[in-house]
Amino acid sequence: MADKTILIAEDSSVILNLTKKILELQNYKILTAKNGGEVLKQVESNKIDAILMDLNIPVKNGMDCTREIRAHENKEIANIPIIAVTGNANNYSMEDFKQVGINDYLPKPLDFDALVLTVKKYTA
């Protein structure tokens, strides 16, 4: 799989860089967003194959971002797989995720293998 683009939305630069590195090692092209606003900008200006979305990002949280992306008029954007990454601060249930259109979720602390597997799954 050559150069799929993953958008990582994450406000912790530590996790952001960590995730980025891991995925880059898997030959993914990485875009980043530090807040919800950037997520939407990135989504609209790049072709993105999957989004790793921390739900706890500022400006617009991951749930809202997901809703907006899913409601996007551009079908291609609306259908980008979204993988939530969360320590589940708000006790979202899987159903909540499904409702907004999150495809999958990775709990924090991040399991790096699971991360790679999950991303692979949605970009295959």
């Binding site: 960590l18 590195k21 320590g87 899987m94 909540d96």
Partner: protein, 1749 residues
């Protein structure tokens, strides 16, 4: 006889008498009569006994006369009084009428002075009895007793005012009686408030009759505090109550204190002694003085001094003082040397004692003290002292004596030495000073000492001589021509080496410059082994002068002789005159010349004899005048009259003759005959000298140069101007001094000159020695010899100044022009530099400019040797304190040499930037008053590069420079501005033009020109008239239209209009505005035309669409409205009639608020629209015309005006009344439903509790059973029991699950599952039941189905058991089977199919519909065959959905049913699952006893539960107490120290939460953890309890493993806390346990990261975390300080997530804990935990780098 000036007695006198009586009666016996009377005999007072004497006189009134009373005649009384006045006491017997029974009449009269008044006091006694009062001889009045008392005493009145003082008291306070009488005691001693209060109290007490004794203090004369004791006693004085006061000086009282004082005195004594000794001269004096002092200042009564003579072993009496003993003191005492020596050894005491007794014997004076006066080696003397009273020599005094002995001894030794020194010094000094000659003492050739004479001789101070060398006070040369310095050195060296005294004559110079001759005698001295030279200077000037005078006379005569001899040999006239003009000498030539014989001539007056008559008087006058003024004309021609009467003209040279003292003695004249040829030659020679003189005096530079350009001659002016000396000139050639630029030209000119051409003018430049050019102009001539040029002579005129001035002027003008010619500022600066360099050295130059506000300094031009030429960048610095700033501030030009510059910098405190120049010129750049900068020239090498006049040049130029710069700057600015304006002017599509009153186009932009040019076909030129022919016609809309507008504009009315252009079709918006000048007038107008075609087009389009809109508007069903912000209707669609019943016309222009049922709605609406611009579906109640109300939904948006300001609202209104009603109904229904749901949830919760309690007993007991050592069969049964109960519990949990599911709260817990085991569980659970019904119950798993799967086993079991139990329930016969199969969905996902088939009653299709609905059962009849909750299938359905699948049933009634479900499962590895299972089992099996036997309190009201839990805890090795209710719990918990308390929550009387609160309150920090045991199994419940103060919870039924886990957990936590404490302690020590560091980051995670990204990446990740966390924590800290706990949640969340991800577990745990606490509003521990978090973070920061490596 004492007179009584006033016979009329006043009350005062009587009072005084009474007071005296009072005093006296205390001194005598009470039965003695006392009478007080005046000296005249008038009785004033009497005591009782005395009154009886007076009794015969009527009524006790003591008005009787004393004579009467005493029974003597008036005459006798007068004698008596007289005797009394003589201070006598008179005794007598009264013979007068004595009253009967009063005894005999013996009396004593005394005159007493009391209070400045004389009284006669009569004491009556019985015969033979002595008088009570003291006799007069001793104490003449009572008052003196008081007065003379040694104790200070005083009397106070009750208010504290002094009535009287005795002498001692006055002495004590050091004041006079007058000063203090009548004063208040409080005021007298400057008492402060507290002291006054205390004293007042004491006085009051004393007055009340209580004796007061207290300590007080007084301020003595020397300001020291004198402690006193005051005794106050009440008494009567002068018939009034008074206080008698006694003062005791405590100093005298207290021995110890006295001692201290005495010691002080001693020290003082020694000090004084030593001080005074220093004025004593000899040893004897010292000793005598010491003894005197001792006598004066101590209690010794006498003493003597024996001085010792060590060698003779004797001491001789040298001094005695004070009282001597009985015998005469022996003149000599024997003292053994040995004894004296022993005084220096350790047994000094013994030696002293021995001496004492020895001396005492010899002196016969027993009370003797021996004071040996010793130096460190010798006993000098003994001072012997004695006192009359042994007690006056206390030990302290003896110590003093001892001390005095050694102190004096040391002093004497010292004194002696000094004396010796002084003696020798004095001798020397005496010699030295009394010498007639000046003496100088040299050491190392400088003067080290000199005597007064020397100072006199050299007329200077000692300082002027000492430290100086001989040549410093000698002229440079000695008469023999040697340098003084050399000669002195030489002579001194000789004396030093040879040691032989030398005497020689010397020329000396005084400080004032006068010289004198001296005879110097130098001799060598050796002092302390060092060589000195002693120099005697004897002034021999007088002698010398005499010598010289003699010598001079000789010389004079000799020279005169020689002179005359010489003159004899030449033919020169020579004669001498004396001061009278008489001829004293004439040579032969002269004699011959004037034809007289010598005899005839000598002695004759020259003028009378030889001067022609007409000149005679004048020449005599001239002669006298010359003598007086001592001035001669050097030569003159005069006539001489010869004997024969001839007149001869002689040229004379005259000179004065001087005597030895320099006085004029005559005049000698030498004359030459003018006709003589030799004279002519002389004259020529003379001329040459004069010529030289002329040359030298010329201002012009004159030089003679040989053809090889060597200097033959230059004049003084030349040398001065060019700065060369004669020596220089010798070695120089012309080439060396000609400026290189001018060399070629000069050489060319010289060559021409040598060729014979006429070069009459040369102009050249020479260089001075300092290298400065000098411009010269002048003539040059060549001298020839043998037709060859040999030399040139040039007369040159210095025109440097002129040239400079000319150039200066030129430069000045050229700089003025530079501003115009330079293309930009920088080239201007360069040009200025270039111009300046024409007149002045400009190697280093800079121009610095400042702004008006002086905020910065910009070095716009800088050429400097020290700076790289390539650096072109401008240096800009803030205006600070540099030289440039100084110049700018002061505005003064400066010329400074390096020193001056540095001094100025120091003085003004500015900084010199860069290298310090040798010389610098700075001039401010000023334009009028304003200074814009500074121009500076400097030179780093040559201090003479500039002279002070150069600054004038620079300053002269600088103004012009400033102007040029400013002009250029302005120009550039204007250019820039113009460019900008032009850019604006030409940009865009605007047309711009301006027009003057003559309609001439003064300016226009290209657009404007283009539009005209297109129409007229030719170029539009400026100043074309708009009303000219070619333009007139091409105006759009006709010229008339424009003319009108222009005219209005010229009237000052700005025009703004639109024009529609035809060519091309367009619209323009035109503005015409007057162009106002500063004075407010205008001559031109400007025109701007904007292209508004597009705008216009859209406006028109709008107008069209408006029409369309109107149609829509009118047919609108909803109501469109537009209202102003104020609420006024502007527009409303006609449909308003249907909505509200008003017509359009009725509403427009009315206010909308009328329509609102609640006007506040409108305010909210407007507010929200203003905020959000538009809102939708805002619901309001509106009132219709008929008064009914309608619910209306409003859409509204903000309408803006042209400027973009909101001006109103527009929108649509819709009637939703009907809709609303439906909605309300719905809402009600929903609320009801929700209420029901709540009731249901509550029911379920309660239900579950009721069910769980018995279940707890069952499961608990089974649990216990299973742990007992049973046999295999029992174990199997128990296992079944356990499994069954577990399953049952699981089912119970269903009840809750459902509500959880309904709330969407149910969470799947996926884990590895062994499918076979799961089915085995189901089978064993239902096998019994099936067996009971005799059913065949089987299960099968199709091959290919993965055995190990990932799913939520509990839920899977739940579904399975639901279906299975149903199947068994509804099947009476046959079989029940479970079949499991699967299909693979992906690599690791499967769909698991489960089918539960029964052979039961079957279900109808209709019933199948209801099957999966909650709370329904297919059989609803009252005769229900089958029990159950009816929830099973509903839950199963939900659960299958959650597990990613579905559930269903296939059934034919009567033919059994098959319930199926399929779920999505993951595949798991066998190993993982096994491991997991093993772990679980291990947990069960390894549930050993707890090691440290925890002490547990169990609180439960239920007997069964108690029993179960008790057993469980026992098995875990706990010591357990039981409490059955809250009260018991509190009692127990407070009585024993439990490790942990398990607390049931639901208890009668007092619930667990309350009990917990009480326990915690009572135990505080010592409270053990309290764990809730609760059947409220919903997780939220647990949290709820923890919120209510419990520390943890465990849900019922409680398992051993749970208990074990909980106890272990809390044990560990406490241990951890203890460990943390310990760690904290350890951290204070330097070595930190490395274990802690390792624990900071999970190594596994590090390894993992490393394997993913490598070393650097890993490092980077952790470093980044450090930074990120720092930031987050910093922000969080601020939030926490503001108590904004919730705000840090996201930070904590992030730290938690990131921390765990990176394996920084401790930190992450803390973050997690904090997050949890804050979320649940537990803020108590937040502060602490956050600090821990910070600490953890710091630990991390410190350690992580090492850990990673």
């Amino acid at each position: 006889m004492p007179s009584t000036p006033n016979r009329q007695l006043n009350a005062e006198t009587i009072e005084q008498a009474n007071s005296l009586l009072q005093v006296l009666s205390q001194l005598t016996k009470p039965d003695h009569g006392l009478v007080i009377a005046l000296p005249n005999g008038q009785v004033l007072a009497a005591n009782t006994a005395g009154q009886t004497r007076c009794a015969p006189v009527a009524d006790n009134a003591p008005a009787q006369d004393l004579p009467t009373l005493l029974g003597i005649s008036a005459r006798d009384y007068a004698a008596l009084a007289e005797r009394l006045c003589a201070q006598e006491q008179v005794d007598g017997s009264s013979t007068g009428a004595l009253p009967a029974g009063s005894g005999s009449g013996q009396y004593t009269c005394r005159l007493m002075h009391y209070q400045q008044r004389a009284f006669i006091c009569v004491e009556f006694t019985r015969p033979g009895q002595p008088a009570g009062l003291p006799p007069v001889a001793e104490q003449d009045s009572y008052h003196t007793i008081f007065e003379n008392s040694l104790d200070p005493q005083f009397i106070l009145d009750p208010e504290g005012h002094f009535i009287d003082f005795n002498q001692s008291a006055l002495a004590l306070i050091g004041r006079t009686r007058a000063a203090i009488l009548g004063e208040s005691i409080f005021r007298s001693f400057g008492l402060n408030l507290f002291e006054r209060v205390a004293l007042r109290g004491q006085l009051r007490q004393a007055l009340a009759g209580r004796l007061q004794k207290f300590e007080w203090w007084l301020q003595g004369q020397n300001q020291e505090l004198l402690p006193i004791e005051i005794t106050l006693q009440a008494g009567r004085f002068k018939q009034q109550q008074v206080i008698f006061g006694y003062v005791k000086n405590l100093y005298e009282m207290i021995d110890a204190e006295q001692d201290v004082r005495f010691r002080n005195h001693q020290l003082e004594f020694i000090n004084q002694l030593i001080t005074k000794l220093s004025t004593s001269d000899s040893q004897l004096q010292v000793l005598d003085f010491t003894l005197d002092e001792l006598l004066a200042k101590s209690d010794i009564s006498g003493g003597c001094v024996y001085t010792t003579f060590f060698l003779e072993n004797k001491a001789r009496l040298s001094y005695t003082a004070g009282k001597m003993g009985a015998t005469l003191l022996p003149a000599e005492l024997d003292v053994s040397g040995q004894t004296m020596r022993r005084l220096f050894s350790s047994d000094k005491g013994q030696a002293l004692a021995q001496l004492r007794s020895h001396f005492a014997r010899q002196l016969q004076q027993s009370e003797l003290r021996v004071v040996p006066v010793t130096t460190d080696k010798d006993v000098i003397a003994f001072i012997l002292v004695w006192a009359e009273d042994q007690s006056k020599m206390p030990p302290s005094f003896l110590a003093l004596l001892d001390f005095i002995g050694s102190a004096i001894g040391n002093y004497i030794a010292f004194h002696q030495l000094q004396q010796q020194l002084l003696h020798s010094e004095d001798k020397y000094r005496l010699l030295f000073e009394s010498s007639y000659d000046a003496i100088l003492l040299f050491k190392d050739r400088v003067v080290v000492e000199c005597n007064e004479k020397a100072l006199e001789l050299f007329r200077c101070t000692r300082e002027d001589l000492i430290g100086h060398m001989p040549h410093d006070f000698s002229p440079k040369y000695q008469p023999d021509g040697m340098l003084s310095a050399h000669k002195a050195n030489h002579l001194m060296q000789e004396v030093i080496t040879r040691g032989k005294p030398v005497t020689f004559e010397w020329k000396s110079r005084r400080k004032d410059g006068t010289r004198f001759d001296a005879e110097l005698s130098v001799s060598r001295l050796l002092l302390d082994g060092e060589v000195y030279l002693q120099l005697f200077v004897r002034d021999i000037t007088q002698r010398k002068q005499v010598q010289q005078a003699r010598r001079r006379e000789e010389i004079l005569q000799e020279s005169m002789e020689q002179f005359r001899n010489f003159l004899e040999k030449v033919d020169l006239i020579h004669y001498s005159l004396d001061t009278q003009g008489n001829i004293v000498y004439a040579n032969n030539y002269f004699l011959r010349y004037v034809e007289y014989s010598r005899e005839e001539l000598l002695g004759r007056n020259f003028y009378d004899l030889l001067v022609p008559e007409p000149d005679r008087e004048q020449r005599k006058i001239d002669f006298r005048k010359a003598l007086e003024t001592r001035q001669l004309t050097s030569f003159y021609e005069r006539d001489v009259l010869t004997k024969s009467g001839l007149l001869k003209t002689i040229r004379w040279n005259c000179m004065f003759e001087y005597g030895p003292e320099g006085e004029i003695t005559g005049m000698t004249s030498v004359g030459k005959d003018m006709t003589d040829k030799r004279i002519a030659m002389e004259a020529l020679k003379d001329n040459k000298i004069r010529l030289q003189d002329v040359f030298d005096n010329a201002h012009d530079l004159i030089q003679n140069i040989s053809v090889d350009n060597k200097f033959i001659f230059v004049n003084k002016a030349w040398k001065e101007r060019l700065g060369y000396t004669d020596d220089d000139i010798e070695s120089l050639t012309l080439n060396d001094i000609v400026h290189p630029y001018y060399k070629a030209k000069l050489i060319y000119q010289l060559r021409n000159l040598y060729k014979g051409e006429n070069v009459n003018k040369i102009e050249t430049v020479f260089l001075t020695k300092a290298g400065k050019p000098i411009h010269l102009i002048g003539s040059i001539t060549c001298s020839w010899q043998d037709e060859r040029p040999v030399a040139t002579r040039a007369i040159l005129h210095d025109i440097t100044d002129r040239i400079k001035a000319e150039r200066l002027q030129k430069v000045y003008y050229s700089i003025a022009n530079l501003a115009i010619s330079s293309k930009d500022l920088h080239s201007l600066y360069s040009a200025i530099h270039r111009e300046l360099s024409k007149i002045i050295e400009t190697r280093n130059i800079y121009i610095a400019l400042c702004d008006r506000e002086h905020t910065f300094l910009n070095f716009v031009y800088l050429v400097d040797q020290h700076l790289d030429k390539a650096v072109k960048t401008q240096i800009k610095r803030p205006f600070s304190f540099g030289l440039s700033e100084y110049i700018i501030e002061t505005g003064k030009p400066m010329y400074m040499q390096k020193e001056e510059l540095l001094a100025l910098a120091r003085q003004e405190g500015f900084k010199i930037h860069g290298a310090v120049p040798e010389v610098i010129l700075c001039s401010p750049l000023a334009i009028g008053e304003r200074i814009i900068g500074v121009i500076t020239l400097q030179d780093y090498q040559n201090p003479e590069a500039y002279v002070s006049t150069d600054i004038e040049i620079l300053h002269f130029i600088s103004n012009q420079v400033a102007l040029a710069i400013e002009r250029k700057r302005n120009e550039e600015q204007i250019n820039n501005q113009n460019a900008r304006l032009n850019a604006i002017f030409e940009s865009g599509t605007h047309h711009m033009w301006s027009l003057n009153r003559g309609y001439e186009l003064t300016s226009f932009n290209r657009n404007f020109a283009a539009s005209f040019e297109r129409r007229i076909g030719q170029k539009l030129m400026p100043y074309t008239r708009l009303d000219d022919a070619p333009l007139l016609t091409v105006h759009e809309n006709s010229f008339k239209f424009w003319d009108e507008k222009y005219q209005l504009a010229f009237e000052g009315k700005p025009q703004h209009f639109e024009v529609h252009l035809q060519n091309p079709e367009s619209w323009r918006e035109v503005y015409l505005n007057p162009i106002y000048r500063e004075d407010g007038t205008f001559e031109e107008i400007s025109g701007i035309a904007l292209d508004i075609t597009d705008k216009k087009a859209s406006q028109l389009a709008l107008a069209k669409s408006e029409e369309k809109f109107r149609h829509i508007f009118e047919s609108f069903q909803d109501v469109y409205y537009r209202i102003t912000l104020g609420g006024k209707f502007e527009l409303v669609s006609p449909s308003v009639k249907q909505l509200l019943g008003y017509t359009e016309e009725e509403i427009v222009d009315h206010n909308v608020s009328l329509l609102y049922a609640y006007p506040e709605d409108r305010e909210i609406l407007v507010q929200r629209v203003l905020e959000q611009e538009s809102i939708r579906e805002f619901e309001v109640q509106m009132v219709c015309k008929d008064g009914t109300r309608k619910t209306v939904l409003l859409d509204a948006r903000l309408v803006y005006d042209d400027q973009g300001d909101p001006m109103g609202l527009e929108g649509v209104a819709r009637d939703v009344s009907e809709l609303k009603r439906t909605q309300i109904a719905l809402l009600k229904a929903k609320e009801e439903a929700e209420n029901l749901l709540k009731v249901k949830t509550q029911f379920l919760a309660n239900m579950s509790h009721e069910l769980r309690t018995p279940m707890n007993g069952i499961i608990g007991m089974i649990d216990l059973l299973s742990q007992m050592n049973n046999d295999a069969e029992q174990s199997e049964y128990i296992d079944t029991l356990r499994k069954s109960s577990d399953a049952l519990l699981a089912i119970l949990n269903d009840i809750l699950d459902l509500s959880k599911i309904q709330a969407g709260k149910l969470v799947m817990h996926e884990s590895g599952v062994d499918l076979h085991e799961t089915l085995d569980k189901i089978h064993s659970l239902f096998a019994n039941r099936a067996q009971q019904k005799d059913l065949d119950f089987t299960y099968s798993i199709s091959p290919g189905t993965p055995r190990y799967i990932i799913t939520d086993e509990t839920r899977l079991l739940q579904i399975l058991s639901n279906l299975t139990s149903n199947a068994i329930k509804f099947t009476s016969a046959g079989k029940v089977s479970i079949k499991v199969s699967s299909t693979a969905l992906s690599e690791d996902k499967y769909r698991l199919h489960v089918r539960v088939k029964d052979s039961g009653i079957g279900i109808s299709a209709q019933d199948q519909q209801l099957l999966f609905t909650e709370f329904t059962q297919v059989d609803n009849s009252s005769t229900k065959t089958f029990g159950g909750t009816g929830l099973g299938l509903a839950i199963s359905k939900q659960l299958t959905h959650m597990l990613g699948g579905n559930i269903g049933v296939e059934s034919v009634p009567g033919d059994g049913s098959t319930f199926w479900f399929d779920i999505v499962v993951g595949s798991a590895s066998e190993a993982a699952v096994k491991e997991q299972l093993q772990r679980q089992q291990q947990q069960l099996s390894e549930l050993g006893t707890l090691d440290n036997c925890p002490y547990v309190l169990l609180v439960d009201d239920n007997q069964i539960n108690q029993k179960v839990a008790l057993k469980q805890l026992e098995r875990l090795g706990c010591r357990t107490d039981v409490a059955s209710n809250g009260y018991e719990a509190i009692a127990q918990a407070t009585a024993h120290a439990y490790d942990i308390i398990f607390m049931d929550i639901q208890m009668p009387e007092m619930d667990g939460v309350t009990a917990t609160r009480h326990i915690k309150e009572q135990l505080g920090k010592a409270c053990p953890p309290i764990v809730a045991m609760t059947a409220y199994s919903m997780k939220d419940d647990g949290i709820k309890f923890m919120n209510q103060g419990l520390d943890d919870y465990v849900s019922k039924p409680v398992k051993s493993s749970d208990l074990h886990a909980i106890i272990t957990k809390w044990e560990n936590r406490e241990r951890a806390a203890a460990v943390t404490q310990q760690q904290l302690l350890q951290q204070e020590q330097p070595q930190q346990a490395p274990v802690i560091q390792q624990d900071i980051i999970d190594r596994q995670v590090i390894e993992q990261l490393r394997s993913i990204g490598g070393e650097d990446f890993t490092k980077h990740v952790y470093t980044e975390f450090e930074q990120e966390a720092a930031q987050l924590l910093e922000e969080a800290k601020k939030e926490l300080q503001a108590q904004q706990y919730k705000s840090i949640l996201s930070t904590l969340h992030q730290l938690k997530g990131t921390g765990f991800t990176l394996g920084i577990n401790q930190l992450a745990e803390l973050a997690k804990q904090l997050e949890h606490d804050i979320k649940h509003d537990h803020f108590e521990a937040v502060e602490d935990n956050f600090n821990k978090l910070l600490e953890q973070y710091h630990n991390y920061c410190k350690a992580y780098k090492e850990i990673i490596i």
